[in-house]
């Protein structure tokens, strides 16, 4: 600072500096909010948002492709039905041929010797069925008859697959399946043998829908949430609060929402979740100015000046949730389930962590082939607390929400 040239300047400077050196004016909450809302955002946050969008898009497109692939597979593809387990054997014997997509045939056939026997059963079944229901079945679009034109038994009771000629040249998969196998031919004494390559039929589809979905699924869910809080006022030096405008320390606050996406297998879900909700607390900060007003009586009224203050914090939580669905017995409603789990989230603005316990009850409906809609009521309880932006309050959250969940995938 350059010294003043005139004593008057120095006197003025000293006087003014003394008054203005520590002069402070508290900005209004609306002004502060405006500035903090418009301040430049972290590029890391931007990357995070972009990453979220990319992830959601990838999951969405992936599930759509999987869904379309399955649908087209069921509409037009000739799918050989193989029995690969005792359960499927029984279904074969009951007249319901299980469905396996072509790309899975090799694996299923090469599993074990039992599959050879099963395949034999399937052949015999198909033959019987073709005799009995050929006229009706041939009208069905999802059945493709393949004719075995010759069987050359190498031994009395068995025949190698390469010795079976298959007329349908399109059934390369079937030929590959049969090639390395040995079939018992005791029952194959009728030539030619017809094999029905069946696709989905109504009975199977109904059974599938009745089956509880424990396969791999891609999940998207949206949950409007109402947040309750247990508020703890943190001690602030030289700051007094009063007139909290809350009915109690435990009160309902603003609505928020939660978006989740992830995968489910055998009822276990791993979900990437993003949730957003606000907390708004109105109160007054008591100033140090007291006005003591003498009245006509000897008593004195003390008026305390308060500065209205709003503490508004928006929480953005990004985290992972692990949940498990337990389907209840079909006593009253089918596909009713209980849900429990936990989540770990990171508050993006203030870099705090929040662990949450989750319980809920819901119901699931099939809405399309390989697509399900679930509606559930969830209760989330915060296992730890979060501080507000101004570090004035600590909140423990309890959230209730009704989640809408779409899942795509095969049973």
């Amino acid at each position: 600072m350059k010294p003043t040239e005139h004593p008057l300047d120095e006197a003025l400077r000293n006087a003014l500096k003394r008054r203005f050196d520590d002069f402070e004016v508290m900005p209004s909450d609306s002004l502060s909010e405006k500035i903090l809302m418009t301040k430049p955002q972290s590029s890391k946050s931007g990357y995070l948002v972009v990453l979220q969008i990319i992830l959601l898009l990838t999951l969405g497109i992936g599930s759509w492709v999987a869904f379309k692939f399955n649908a087209s597979d069921e509409r037009g593809g000739s799918t050989v039905r193989q029995s690969t387990s005792e359960k499927r054997i029984s279904r074969v014997q009951k007249g319901i041929l299980p469905e396996l997509p072509q790309k899975k045939i090799d694996r299923s056939v090469h599993e074990s010797e039992s599959s050879l026997h099963n395949l034999e059963d399937a052949v015999i079944y198909s033959h019987k069925k073709s005799n009995r229901e050929r006229s009706a079945d041939s009208k069905k679009q999802n059945e493709l008859p393949i004719e075995l034109v010759a069987v050359k038994p190498a031994k009395q009771e068995s025949v190698r697959a390469e010795e079976i000629e298959i007329k349908d040249q399109n059934s390369l998969n079937l030929q590959m399946i049969l090639r390395s196998k040995v079939f018992h031919t005791q029952k194959l004494n009728v030539k030619p043998v017809s094999i029905l390559l069946c696709k989905n039929d109504e009975t199977d589809a109904k059974n599938k829908r009745k089956t509880r979905p424990f396969g791999s699924k891609v999940i998207f869910s949206f949950t409007p949430i109402n947040t309750f809080q247990h508020l703890t006022i943190l001690r602030q030096p030289q700051l007094r609060y009063r007139n909290f405008q809350l009915p109690s320390s435990f009160s309902s606050q603003t609505l928020g929402y939660s978006l989740q996406s992830g995968i489910e297998r055998k009822g276990f879900q791993i979900l990437l979740s993003y949730s957003r909700f606000q907390q708004l607390i109105r109160y007054e900060v008591a100033t140090n100015e007291y006005i003591i007003t003498p009245r006509s009586t000897d008593s004195y009224a003390i008026a305390q000046e308060g500065v209205p203050t709003i503490s508004q914090t928006t929480f953005h939580l990004l985290g992972l949730a692990v949940q498990k669905k337990f389907f209840l017995p079909n006593l009253f409603l089918p596909n009713l389930y209980l849900q429990t789990g936990a989540s770990i989230g990171r508050e993006l603005g203030t870099s705090q962590n929040l662990a949450t316990g989750i319980i809920g009850i819901g119901k699931q409906w099939p809405v399309a082939p390989n697509a399900y809609l679930s509606v559930a009521t969830n209760l989330n309880a915060g296992l730890n607390t979060l501080k507000t932006n101004d570090n004035a309050f600590k909140n423990r959250f309890y959230q209730m929400g009704v989640s809408l969940e779409l899942s795509f995938g095969k049973d």
Partner: protein, 194 residues
Amino acid sequence: MSLWPTKKYDNLPDLVRACQNQDAKAQTVLYERYKSRLLGTCVRYARSEAEAEDIFQESFLKVFASIGEVRQPESIDGWVKSVVVRTAINYYHRTTRNELKSAPFDDFGCEMENDEYEKIIGHMHMDALLGLINRLPDGYRVIINLHLIDGYTHAEIATLLSIAESTSRSQYMRGRNLLINRLKELGITHYETY
């Protein structure tokens, strides 16, 4: 439970570096640190509360946007204040500089002793003192603030305001005399009622 290390700003350089990385929490802490002091500065330079809030908002946006240019985080206090002062001057350039050119030439004599001004200013209510400064013509007000309160030299003021140093001096003299005259009136009134 802590999956990530909790961010702490143990000292001012840490806070500045976090702000340079556009850490949202650090920006909030920085705002909380300077908000009242800087709004006080804005109030001195502005004619009204609304104008002060405009300058204040613009200043903080500049602080957040330009904090990456700070090479010495220890000197952040002075840098932030200089941003506010420059923003106020720019605001003045945009809105009121023409008024300075056409401001009337007021010359006032100084009749009181030096220590009397200190007493008057020391006893004045802050609102009255602020009102006195705010009601000065724009050119005088800026130069009085810069030279008397914020300690800028006339050479620095000349650079900031894009005027000649002699103009700065003459404007300051006029502004000071006007201030003294009004102080004298207010001071006498204040003394009488005190």
